[in-house]
């Protein structure tokens, strides 16, 4: 294997990104482990609590995130084809979708908080143990996922800047390609969170 040029080992960069995603899988894996154990311990309570989630908002959010994945995928292809204008527009659209997602998430959170349901709240602590755990997991898992979305949005904002300044080109697209991988991964996590919190009723 030839020693590639130091700065431009695109395949190396991609490997690095995939490796990072593997660590993310296990990071979220820890949470899914907790979820599955507590779900198996308190099936009835989890069942009931999931029914309280706002299915409409959850579904919209899933659609939003899936669409954003389409945008970023096309944006990357556009870079590779040299169509930078289209790429910038679609990256912008991805950011927008990300923000919409976070907005809707915030609405859901605040609606719950307004009802007094949040970790350690007097209302929640009076509920059954299964419910305490369900909502605890809900906040932690969607919260950490939301944090990932937020980071993604920021990173894509940088990519827009790089595309505009010519730092990302059809020859040198590692950065945006890796950003895309990250964004899709965040999408995949949500693909699982959605049924676990909204559908399993």
């Amino acid at each position: 294997m030839v020693q590639a040029e130091k700065q431009r080992d695109r395949i190396g960069a991609k490997y690095g990104m995939w490796l990072f995603l593997f660590t993310e899988i296990l990071f979220f894996g820890g949470m899914f482990l907790l979820y599955s154990v507590y779900r198996s311990k308190y099936p009835v309570e989890f069942h009931a609590s999931a029914a309280e989630e706002n299915l409409l908002l959850g579904s919209i959010n899933t659609a939003v995130l899936l669409t954003s994945s389409l945008f970023i995928a096309v944006a990357i292809s556009a870079v590779k084809k040299g169509n930078y204008r289209l790429s910038v527009i679609l990256q912008g659209a991805t950011i927008l979708m990300g923000i919409v997602f976070l907005g809707i998430k915030a609405v859901e959170w605040f609606e719950k908080i307004a009802r007094g349901i949040y970790p350690n709240s007097p209302v929640l602590d009076k509920m059954s143990m299964g419910e305490i755990l369900f909502f605890g997991l809900y906040y932690v898992m969607t919260g950490i996922h939301g944090l990932h979305v937020l980071i993604g949005v920021c990173v894509i904002a940088f990519m827009v800047y790089f595309t505009l300044t010519g730092n990302i080109t059809r020859e040198n697209f590692s950065k945006i390609e890796n950003t895309g991988l990250y964004w899709h991964f965040v999408d995949i996590v949500w693909i699982y969170l959605f049924p676990l919190f909204y559908l399993i009723t």
Binding site: M1, Q3, F20, F22, G29, L133
Partner: protein, 527 residues
């Protein structure tokens, strides 16, 4: 230095973008980063050693030197520093950084700037841990395992310490990613997988463990932080949580972590033994693949730390069974090392003294690991000094002695100077005696039922505690001689040739210390 010296200056003199101290702190050169890691590690290590000696001192007369509360904080901090600041990052970040690229014939790691960044994250994490010692509230007093629900209720600065460990974990993950990518992408032409030096193989296996295990620790620590700050009760029984689940998550990381400590250490031994036996390693492929074997089986044995935790009997039997399987690849390594000596022509230099001692001490540590990995004896020995003895034998007798081996073996290459042999061997001898006096008595203590993390104990355990403490002073004397010897050589030692030992790996083909970009021409490996 030898002939090539004139064309390429050593990396110590490299003229970079920055001047003075910044030329170190901002450098992305893997060798400079490696040296900086080494300095940081040894600094924390000496703090850890002091605390260890303090533990021993306190144990011969509980209450005379330090109080109960202080004792609890001291052993916790001793554990946290030794594990998270010293021995887990240890070999990879110091020696791995310095030698991995050279050994595979590369100019640097795959992501040099990321490498720089990990050093800073390491320092940030270490700083947070250090802060937790001094901030109001007091140093953590949970033990290095942070068991819930105690760690969620205790009043000390646990949040701070845990955040620090989280950051350190992040640094460890990034190092893993960097190394794995480097080994995949930057091997010199002709450097096929089965021509890789064995040290590189172990770093590769370690890299994967860092990558796949550390995130589990990260999320576990996040749960602890959330529990303390927001009252999320995942491990709090009054909120339905299950404290045993914390133990599962913690050990899912922390058992593989013991292989992060020992695998690269084994790599060092695999390098040193053939060089000083002046022949090739016996069963190269078996040694290389057993590293992968240890890494992958080691992922599934974490439950052996929980045999008396209230875990189901079914799980205990499964975990004990898998635990025994880990011994097989470790055994393969030991057997191949010993066979390498066969028909060799052994040169008795300091590095091989340490390396062979590693084999002996690690075997004791590992074999006692099997005793406590058995279902019945564990009922007796868990939570006693037997465990303390086991892990000091593997961590310090194993990984620690490998670091000493590496320090002596690579000292000429890293610093361009030779050290005198005699004091090194005298130091080795005292260290060896002190080590066994210190820790072997702990096996007996543990067998007799002395619990660990005990500030105070029934009088019948006193004699052995005293023996152990005396051992700790002998040990410290040995270490002082070794450290003094190396420190003196650093400034006064004669210049080292490119290849003082007759080593066969690539680092010995370049001058000591290596030039900035390692190789003038990318080496091509042939048979």
């Amino acid at each position: 230095m030898e002939s090539t010296a004139s064309e390429c200056e050593s990396f110590y003199h490299e003229k970079g973008k920055y001047k003075g101290i910044l030329s170190w702190l901002m450098s992305t050169d893997h060798k400079r980063i490696g040296i900086q890691y080494l300095v940081a590690l040894l600094t924390f290590f000496s703090v850890g050693v002091m605390l260890g000696l303090l533990i021993r001192l306190s144990l011969i007369a509980p209450g005379t030197f330090i109080g109960q509360e202080t004792y609890n904080r001291v052993f916790s901090v001793h554990g946290i520093i030794m594990i998270f600041l010293f021995i887990i990052p240890g070999v990879p970040v110091a020696f791995g950084n310095f030698f991995l690229p050279i050994m595979i014939g590369a100019r640097d790691v795959a992501f040099p700037r990321l490498n720089r960044f990990t050093w800073w994250t390491y320092l940030a994490g270490a700083t947070l841990v250090a802060l937790s010692l001094f901030a109001a509230g007091g140093a953590p007093d949970t033990g290095w395992t942070f068991y819930a629900p105690y760690s969620i209720r205790a009043k000390a600065n646990i949040t701070l310490a845990v955040t620090g460990v989280f950051v350190l974990g992040f640094s460890s993950i990034l190092t893993g990613i960097n190394f794995v990518t480097t080994i995949h992408r930057l091997r010199a032409p002709g450097m096929t997988w089965f021509k890789l030096p064995l040290f590189v193989w172990t770093l590769y296996a370690t890299g994967w463990v860092q990558l796949l295990a550390t995130p589990v620790l990260a999320i576990t620590l996040v749960f602890i932080i959330l529990g303390r700050v927001f009252g999320v009760g995942f491990f709090d029984p009054s909120k339905g949580g299950d404290p045993i689940l914390y133990e599962h998550l913690f050990w899912t990381y922390s058992h593989p972590a013991v292989y992060i400590m020992v695998l690269p250490a084994m790599g060092i031994i695999s390098e040193v033994i053939p060089v000083f036996a002046r022949k090739k390693i016996f069963g190269y492929k078996a040694v290389a693949l057993s590293a992968i074997g240890i890494a992958s089986v080691g992922y599934f044995v974490w439950g052996h730390h929980m045999f008396t935790s209230g875990m189901s009997d079914t799980a205990r039997i499964i975990f004990s069974f898998i635990t025994f399987l880990v011994a097989v690849p470790s055994g393969i390594k030991i057997f191949n090392w010993v066979s390498t000596l066969y028909k060799g022509s052994i040169v008795g230099s300091a590095p091989i003294y340490f390396a062979l001692t590693f084999i002996f001490l690690f075997s004791i540590g590992g074999l006692t690991g099997l005793i406590i990995g058995s279902l019945e004896p564990n009922l007796q020995l868990h939570g006693t000094y037997f465990i303390v003895a086991h892990f000091h034998y593997v961590m310090f007798g194993g990984a620690g002695f490998a670091i000493l081996t590496a320090l002596h073996y690579w000292f000429p290459k890293m610093f361009g100077r030779m050290y005198p042999e005699r004091p090194a061997k005298i130091g080795w001898f005292i260290l060896f005696i002190g080590f066994n006096v210190l820790y072997f008595s702990m096996f007996i203590l543990g067998y007799e039922g002395m619990p660990r993390r005990y500030f105070d104990y029934p009088a019948r355990y006193f004699p052995l505690h005293l023996v152990s403490t005396i051992g700790s002073w002998i040990l410290a004397a040995g270490l002082a001689i070794i450290a003094g010897n190396l420190l003196r050589a650093l400034f006064k030692g004669p210049k080292a040739p490119a290849d003082p030992w007759g080593g066969r790996t690539l680092e010995w083909t370049i001058p000591s210390p290596p030039p900035a970009e390692n190789f003038v021409e990318t080496p091509v490996i042939r048979d």
